[in-house]
């Protein structure tokens, strides 16, 4: 069964460093999403992406964040200068249609020291 994959499973970085979280969505999906979950808090929407541009973004998704689909298979989330409060589990999701079921990856746990 096709699934969304994410790498790495765990990333540790120093405050101020740049990180790139990688996702491989399901191959025939056209809509891509990032969510995050800070420990003990709700899963929160960050951004959705379609047709090589951002469709929606939350107030969390400020200028420190960017997304890219660099090739036909990867979808990345970049945090330019990490802060302590960026420590969270980051989930990638994809869907075949915009209002369809979103399929989630296993997440990347980001720890900022």
């Amino acid at each position: 069964e096709p699934e969304v994959t994410q790498t790495p499973s765990h990333q540790v970085t120093q405050m101020g460093q740049e990180v790139i979280l990688r996702c491989v969505p399901i191959s025939n999906h056209l809509y891509f999403y990032w969510y995050r979950q800070i420990l003990g808090q709700k899963v929160e929407f960050l951004v959705s992406f379609y047709n090589n541009e951002i469709s929606e973004k939350s107030e969390i998704f400020d200028d420190q964040f960017s997304v890219e689909r660099p090739d036909g298979s990867n979808f990345t989330l970049k945090i330019r200068s990490t802060k302590l409060e960026d420590s969270a589990m980051y989930f990638c999701a994809s869907s075949e249609v915009g209002y369809g079921e979103q399929f989630f990856g296993p997440g990347t746990r980001l720890t900022v020291l």
């Binding site: 699934e3 709700k42 939350s58």
Partner: protein
């Protein structure tokens, strides 16, 4: 604004007994509602979804949920718990901006423990 409230952070049941995980929603229009499950070290998996068709929705692994507009509820049930049901369950509402995509709004989650 749309939101969901999961009324229990932890639920513990014995194997073979019924499961009830409670969720109330708030929405200014007819919502799309979902239940997702997360097993340890796994991604979020869709259990079932309600999108204004039948109010009783059947999902995978014997789970079902009933949409009750009068009570603004979307509780998840299963007649008989299995050990493999132990996981975290999220009630989710979709918010549409009228654009190409949906934003999912998650509840705080209910951790289900199943005792032998």
């Amino acid at each position: 604004a749309q939101s969901v409230t999961q009324l229990d952070s932890h639920v513990s049941v014995s194997e073979g007994t019924p499961v009830l995980l409670r969720c109330n929603y708030s929405s200014s229009y007819s919502p799309s509602l979902f239940w997702y499950v997360q097993h340890p070290n796994k991604g979020l998996q869709l259990l079932l979804k309600y999108t204004s068709a039948a109010t009783l929705v059947k999902g995978i692994n014997g789970f079902e949920a009933e949409f009750k507009k009068s009570e603004t509820s979307f509780h998840l049930t299963k007649p008989s718990a299995h050990m493999s049901d132990a996981a975290e369950y999220f009630c989710v509402v979709a918010k549409s901006y009228g654009g190409a995509t949906n934003k999912l709004i998650f509840g705080t989650g209910t951790l289900l423990a199943v005792q032998p």
